[in-house]
C-alpha cells in the first residue's frame, strides 16, 4: 500500500519519498491552492524524484465554466501521470480528450459494485484507480478489492467534507464582496458537534466535520484488505508534513502517535467498522400501518357505537366480508360487515377502490386504522 499526499511546496517535496503525489490547482480543485505555474514546477520536481503525479479536477462546473476551463486542459502536460476527476462529465471529457490514466473520485455515492462496474465498462483500461467513499466499511472494501480488479484508494487521514454549495454563504455574513476567501467555524443549534470548519472560495462554500477521519490505527488492516493507496490530506495543517512523511515511511505506533499529537483536530473512524446509516429509517414511519395485498380500506373517522367512515382501497368491499382492523398502535380487532353504506349514507352491497362509505363501528379503530380482508 502506497501513501498518497498533496504537493504543496518545493520545500515539502523534499520530505516525500515513494509516495503518490496529487497536485491541486485553484481553478480545478475545490480546495486547490496552486497556480498553474506552481503546479507545473512542483510536478516536474516530483517527477525528477521519481514520484508519480496526478492532476486533481474535483470541482463541479456548470457548462460555461466547464467549456472555458477544458480549453486549458486540451494540451494536458505530459508531466502528469493521471487526472483525478469527480464529476461524471469530467470523466467523460477526459476519456474523449486526454490520453492519460484516469483516477475516479467516487466519494459521493457509488456505494455498490454495480456503480463502479458502470465506470469500468465505460472507461476501460484508462481507469486505473478508484477513490472510494468514506461511508464504506472495511469489510465491503475488502470484498470489492477481490472482485473488482481495480486499484483502490481511501482517505486514511484528513478532513471529512460534509457539504459543498456553489453559493457564497460566508461573505454575505461578513458583508464582503463575493470571490474573497473566507474561513470560519460553525456550531449548529441542533447538533452536539461544535466547530464545523467552514471555507468559502471561488468554488463556493465548504463545510467539514469537526473531527477528521483518522484511520491510521488500521493501517495494517488496510494493507491486508489489499487497498492500494492510502491518502493523507494534511492541507489544513501543513506543519505536520514531516510527521506524515515519517509515518508513511515507517507506519509504526510511535510515529502514528507523534502525528496524532501534532494534528490539531481529533480523529474519528466514521463508518470504517460498520455503516448502519439506514437503520433509523424504520422509526420514521409507523410500522403498524404497513400495506399488503389484503388491504381493503382505511378508516377516516368513527362515531362511537354508530359507524366508521372509510375509504376503500384495493379490490373493493362487499357486505358480509370479514375484516381485521389494525390501528396505529398495532392492535387488531375482527369486524364483520353486517351492513355497508355509500357516501350519501344509502345502504349498498359493495364499494369499489377509491369510494368512500360507512361500515359498522368498531372500538379501537381511530382515523388511519387499516382494514384488511381476513
Amino acid at each position: 500500500m502506497k501513501g498518497a499526499v498533496y504537493l504543496l511546496s518545493l520545500e515539502e517535496l523534499a520530505l516525500w519519498n515513494d509516495v503518490d503525489c496529487i497536485v491541486a490547482v485553484k481553478e480545478f480543485s475545490r480546495r486547490g491552492t496552486l497556480s498553474w505555474e506552481d503546479a507545473s514546477v512542483l510536478a516536474h520536481a516530483a517527477k525528477a524524484k521519481g514520484l508519480t503525479v496526478s492532476f486533481e479536477w474535483d470541482a463541479l462546473m456548470e457548462e460555461p465554466r466547464f467549456r472555458d476551463l477544458t480549453l486549458k486542459l486540451k494540451n494536458f502536460p505530459s508531466v502528469f501521470d493521471a487526472i483525478r476527476v469527480r464529476d461524471a462529465g469530467a470523466a467523460w471529457w477526459a476519456r474523449e480528450n486526454l490520453n492519460c490514466d484516469i483516477h475516479l473520485i467516487l466519494e459521493a455515492g457509488h456505494h455498490n459494485q454495480m456503480a463502479i462496474e458502470s465506470w469500468k465498462q465505460r472507461l476501460g483500461a484508462r481507469l486505473t484507480r478508484i477513490a472510494l467513499s468514506p461511508e464504506l466499511p472495511l469489510s465491503v472494501i475488502r470484498q470489492w478489492r477481490q472482485q473488482l480488479g481495480l486499484p483502490l484508494e481511501v482517505m486514511a487521514l484528513g478532513p471529512l467534507l460534509l457539504f459543498h454549495s456553489p453559493r457564497p454563504l460566508l461573505s454575505s455574513l461578513a458583508s464582503a464582496p463575493e470571490g474573497s476567501e473566507w474561513k470560519a467555524t460553525g456550531a449548529s443549534e441542533e447538533s452536539p458537534h461544535k466547530g464545523f470548519p467552514l471555507q468559502e472560495n471561488a468554488h463556493g462554500t465548504l463545510m467539514f466535520h469537526p473531527k477528521d477521519l483518522g484511520l491510521l490505527e488500521r493501517w495494517s488492516d488496510m494493507q491486508a484488505a489489499g487497498i492500494d493507496y492510502a491518502r493523507i490530506d494534511h492541507r489544513l495543517q501543513s506543519s505536520v508534513a514531516p510527521l506524515v512523511a515519517n509515518f508513511i515511511a515507517s507506519p509504526q505506533d510511535e510515529n502514528r502517535e507523534a502525528l496524532k499529537q501534532a494534528w490539531n483536530t481529533d480523529w474519528m473512524r466514521g463508518y470504517w467498522d460498520v455503516n448502519k446509516s439506514d437503520v433509523l429509517f424504520n422509526k420514521l414511519k409507523n410500522q403498524h400501518l404497513g400495506h399488503d395485498e389484503r388491504l381493503c380500506g382505511e378508516v377516516l373517522e368513527g362515531k362511537r357505537e354508530s359507524w366508521l367512515a372509510i375509504r376503500v382501497r384495493g379490490p373493493g368491499l362487499t357486505r358480509g366480508a370479514d375484516l381485521r382492523v389494525i390501528n396505529p398502535k398495532g392492535e387488531e380487532r375482527s369486524l364483520k360487515l353486517s351492513w355497508l353504506k355509500d357516501d350519501a349514507f344509502n345502504a349498498v352491497e359493495s364499494l369499489s377502490e377509491g369510494q368512500v362509505g360507512f361500515i359498522p363501528w368498531s372500538s379501537g379503530a381511530p382515523s388511519r386504522s387499516k382494514l384488511h380482508l381476513n
Binding site: 463541479l60 462546473m61 456548470e62 457548462e63 460555461p64 467549456r67 461524471a88 462529465g89 469530467a90 474523449e96 459521493a108 455515492g109 457509488h110 456505494h111 455498490n112 459494485q113 454495480m114 456503480a115 462496474e117 458502470s118 465505460r122 461511508e135 465491503v140 457539504f163 454549495s165 456553489p166 453559493r167 457564497p168 454563504l169 460566508l170 461573505s171 454575505s172 455574513l173 473566507w182 474561513k183 470560519a184 460553525g186 456550531a187 449548529s188 443549534e189 447538533s191 467552514l198 466514521g270 446509516s277 439506514d278 433509523l280 429509517f281 420514521l284 414511519k285 400495506h291 395485498e293 388491504l295 377516516l300 373517522e301 362515531k303 367512515a309 384495493g314 350519501a344 368512500v356 382515523s367
Partner: protein, 398 residues
C-alpha cells in the same frame, strides 16, 4: 401544429396526492415505492398503490415516473431487479435514478425509460453524454444550471432536459451533502436527510467576528416568472418539488402552473398574462421567501433564507372533497378544525374558486354540527363546480 408547451411534472407523495395532482392538470407525476427513494419518512406507494396510481394517471392522459434515486449499497440492490420488473409490468413511464449501478440494473431488468435525477448533479454537456451512454433519455439538471444553458444542453445532446420550477431547494450540490450521515447517523442519500441546512449556526470568523445565522438555508424556488424562458428554450419538463407537502400544495402549485402553461398554449404569447393573480395564489401557500435561484443567473447571497422556519400563510388546508353531486351533496374530509364562521374556498379544476358556507355544514350522518374536527368528515349542500378530489382551503384569522 400544436404549440410546444413544457410538461408539468408534479410531486405525488402518496396515492391521494397523485390523484390530486393529476386531477388539477399535471402532465406527469413522480412518486416512490417503499424503498430506493430519498423520502424515507413519506407515505410512498405500495406495489398495489403504484398499479392503481399508474392506471388512474394513464386513464387521464398523465404519465408516472418512479424515483429510484437513492445512492444504494450492495445489499439494497438485492431485491431491486424484482421491483424493476414489477414497474415494467405496470407500465410506469420512466424511472428516475442517480446511481449508475441502478441505471445498469434498470437497463438489464427493464428496460424502462431512464431519467437522471437532480441528485446526480449533472451540470454540463459532458455529464449529459456520460449518462446518455448509460441509456438516459432525460436529465433532471442540477439546480445550478440556468434555463439558457439547459436549452443549449438539450439542443446539443438530443437528450430531454428537465428543470425544477418550484419548491424547496438543497443549498448544496445535490448528492454532495452528507451532514446527516456523519452527525445524525442517517443517510441523506437514502432518504434520511435531517435538514441540517435549516438550523441556525453560530459562525466564528478568523478575525474574531461572530454571527448567528441560518446561513445554509435556501429560499424556496419560484420559477413562475421564468416560464417564458423555459418555453423559449424548449425545456421539455418543469418539475415541482414537494412530495412531503400537503394536498393543498399539490393542488395549488399544479393549478397555477397549469393555468400559466395553458395561457401560453392558447395564446402563443404572454401579453396580458395575469402574473400577479398566479403569484398571489402561490403565495397563499405556506412558504419561505421566494427566489429564482440559478434559473436566470448564478444564485447569490440574496437566495439565503436567513430566518427560522415558520408558517405565515393566510390560508391553510381545510380538507379534500371526497364526493360531490347534486343529489348526494358534498362530503369533505377535514384536515383541521373550523367553525361556522370559517372562510372556505374550494380550488376548482376549472374556473374560479368556489366558496363554501360553513354555516350549512352537517355531520356525515346528517346530524347537526357547529365545529369540524381534524380527521373528520363534514357534509355541505351541493354547490355547482365542486367535484371529488378538489382541495378546500381555510382562511385564517389574521
Amino acid at each position: 401544429m400544436e404549440r410546444f408547451t413544457p410538461e408539468l411534472l408534479a410531486p405525488a407523495g402518496n396515492l391521494d396526492k397523485l390523484k390530486t395532482a393529476v386531477l388539477y392538470g399535471a402532465d406527469a407525476v413522480y412518486c416512490a415505492g417503499q424503498d430506493y427513494g430519498l423520502r424515507a419518512a413519506a407515505d410512498n406507494f405500495t406495489r398495489e398503490e403504484l398499479a392503481i396510481g399508474v392506471a388512474f394517471a394513464h386513464q387521464r392522459g398523465a404519465k408516472v415516473y418512479v424515483v429510484l434515486n437513492g445512492f444504494l449499497h450492495d445489499e439494497d440492490l438485492v431485491e431491486l431487479p424484482d421491483f424493476i420488473r414489477y414497474l415494467k409490468s405496470i407500465a410506469v413511464d420512466a424511472v428516475i435514478v442517480s446511481d449508475p449501478g441502478v441505471a445498469l440494473l434498470v437497463r438489464e431488468h427493464g428496460p424502462i425509460p431512464l431519467h437522471v435525477s437532480t441528485q446526480a448533479s449533472v451540470l454540463n454537456l459532458a455529464g449529459v453524454k456520460a449518462w446518455q451512454e448509460l441509456g438516459a433519455t432525460r436529465v433532471v439538471l442540477g439546480r445550478e444550471v440556468t434555463v439558457h444553458d439547459a436549452g443549449a444542453l438539450q439542443r446539443l445532446s438530443g437528450v430531454e432536459m428537465e428543470q425544477f420550477v418550484h419548491g424547496a431547494m438543497c443549498m448544496a450540490y445535490s448528492g454532495h451533502c452528507v451532514i446527516s450521515n456523519f452527525t445524525q447517523g442517517r443517510d441523506s442519500n437514502r432518504g434520511g436527510c435531517a435538514h441540517s441546512c435549516r438550523f441556525s449556526y453560530d459562525i466564528k470568523f478568523e478575525d474574531g467576528k461572530n454571527e448567528s445565522a441560518f446561513f445554509m438555508s435556501s429560499k424556496d424556488l419560484e420559477g413562475l416568472s421564468v416560464l417564458p424562458r423555459f418555453v423559449q428554450e424548449g425545456i421539455v419538463s418543469l418539475k415541482v418539488e414537494g412530495r412531503m407537502k400537503s394536498p393543498l400544495y399539490a393542488a395549488t402549485t399544479t393549478r397555477v402552473y397549469r393555468r400559466a402553461l395553458d395561457f401560453w398554449k392558447e395564446h402563443g404569447h404572454w401579453d396580458n398574462a395575469p402574473w400577479g393573480e398566479w403569484q398571489e395564489e402561490l403565495r397563499r401557500l405556506p412558504h419561505r421567501d421566494a427566489t429564482e435561484a440559478s434559473l436566470v443567473g448564478p444564485a447569490g447571497a440574496d437566495s439565503i433564507f436567513d430566518e427560522r422556519e415558520h408558517v405565515d400563510s393566510a390560508w391553510g388546508m381545510a380538507g379534500v372533497v371526497l364526493s360531490a353531486g347534486p343529489e348526494r351533496g358534498v362530503l369533505l374530509e377535514c384536515k383541521q378544525s373550523f367553525e361556522q364562521d370559517a372562510r372556505l374556498e374550494a380550488l376548482t379544476f376549472e374556473g374560479e374558486t368556489v366558496t363554501l358556507s360553513a354555516r350549512e355544514m352537517l355531520a356525515p350522518d346528517y346530524s347537526a354540527l357547529t365545529r369540524s374536527k381534524p380527521s373528520s368528515l363534514v357534509r355541505f349542500p351541493w354547490t355547482p363546480g365542486l367535484a371529488a378530489g378538489q382541495v378546500v382551503r381555510l382562511g385564517k384569522s389574521l
